[in-house]
Symmetry: C2
Subunit: 252 residues, 2 copies
């Protein structure tokens, strides 16, 4: 069965944030990520488009979803894919409705992302949260959409387990007035030396501008990753900095 | 002056590894990175192509290089740029001839990259090395070319300070038989718990396949970044893992 013009248009529209928001859907591409959604959150799958060989390999797993699986040719997959090299299968998935567990936040580490713009960084940060069991990632409104195709690819399925909520830091501070708020800034305290609690909110700033001034005033702890004296780089990549700080906070 | 057909062809060829190798050159794009090369390694600059406003802003810095600076229009810059949004200036730069400081390697930490394929990861890893003052990064022949445009962009000028050498691990092991060789593997020892020396070679494996079997047999220490018990991710991004391990090794 060939794809209708309407379907082609719909799929194309989901490459854009405003239509993902309108339909409350997003596109997940590739064998690994689609199988993960099938295993963990099959109810959220609206439709799967896949080439015959992929369907044949996964018949058993797909049985409960059969009504929503459509076989298409590699040429058609290419038409609806956002990837330059489409990978066997693509799914339309309902965006999860993340919830805030106020009790967990009190004794856990959460992230607050202030203006993360690069989709690769956003996906990688969600993957870090997933690895270290961080349940809440708050995103300022100036962040890249976490359901944009490149974020979904880079996050490796983290959106299935990590609760991403749009928020702003002053609201969070009002709701959790006693929670420490850490932020990585130049001239902050060395994370390997300063005593820090295991619970709190870690603020990660924009890739080139860092943490915005109005957000910085809300920090309770100014921290930093120590550079080597003979190092030359001006900064670390935002996702790498997130990984280092989270690893240290989780393992002290 | 408009660009000749020959120049356009030459510039286009430098987007490909085999021509970068043939001419021993690479392309660096953008204000920040070109100014860094002008400041730190002006001799290596073969040519600068820039729009009039950029040249006007930097006249003083460019004075010693004036013979190699060519003014071009934004339209022409677009023709020779590898970026979708060209940024004022582009330089053709001689590839550095990195040297191996055998004495330094004995008491420092070095990296060995086994099949890093993603240009963004490669650039980010070089930036990590630069931040933590790592002087030697050895690349297996199966790594992405460190002078490919995306690596140059992501490395933020690290190639000016970090010595990148193509090598293979067995040769390094023969040359430095007493040096520990750390490798991040599944079920390795927790880097936050196991005692590790500050000197050695840290091996980072391919993004999806990890460290190749023949390379793994050369490791003297199998290490790992502990995942959270309630974490869901199967792995961390290769550059993030590098950042965490290097940060821990540098700060214990």
């Amino acid at each position: 069965m060939t794809l209708s013009k309407q379907t082609l248009q719909y799929m194309k529209s989901l490459q854009l944030g405003k239509f993902r928001q309108k339909y409350n859907n997003f596109v997940a591409e590739g064998d690994k990520i689609v199988l993960e959604i099938v295993a963990q959150n099959a109810d959220a799958i609206e439709k799967i488009y896949a080439i015959p060989s992929w369907i044949a390999t996964n018949t058993r797993l797909l049985a409960p979803l059969a009504a929503n699986v459509q076989e298409i040719s590699p040429e058609e997959l290419k038409k609806i894919s956002g990837l330059t090299t489409p990978n066997q299968v693509l799914a339309i998935v309902q965006q999860p409705a993340p919830t805030l567990d106020a009790q967990l936040i009190q004794y856990d580490l959460s992230l607050y992302l202030d203006g993360i713009q690069d989709p690769g960084n956003m996906g990688t940060i969600l993957r870090i949260a997933d690895w270290f069991g961080i349940r809440h990632v708050f995103c300022a409104p100036n962040c890249v959409d976490i359901y944009s195709p490149k974020v979904v690819q880079a996050s490796m399925g983290a959106f299935l387990r990590v609760h991403c909520l749009e928020s702003n830091l002053s609201d969070l501070k009002n709701q959790f007035p006693d929670l420490p708020i850490f932020g990585a800034v130049l001239n902050g305290d060395n994370i390997f030396e300063v005593p820090l609690s295991k619970q709190g909110i870690l603020v990660i700033g924009n890739e080139s501008k860092g943490i915005a001034t109005e957000v910085e005033t809300l920090l309770t702890h100014r921290i930093a990753i120590p550079a080597s004296k003979n190092g030359g780089a001006e900064s670390l990549n935002a996702a790498v900095a997130t990984g280092i700080i989270v690893a240290v906070l989780r393992n002290r």
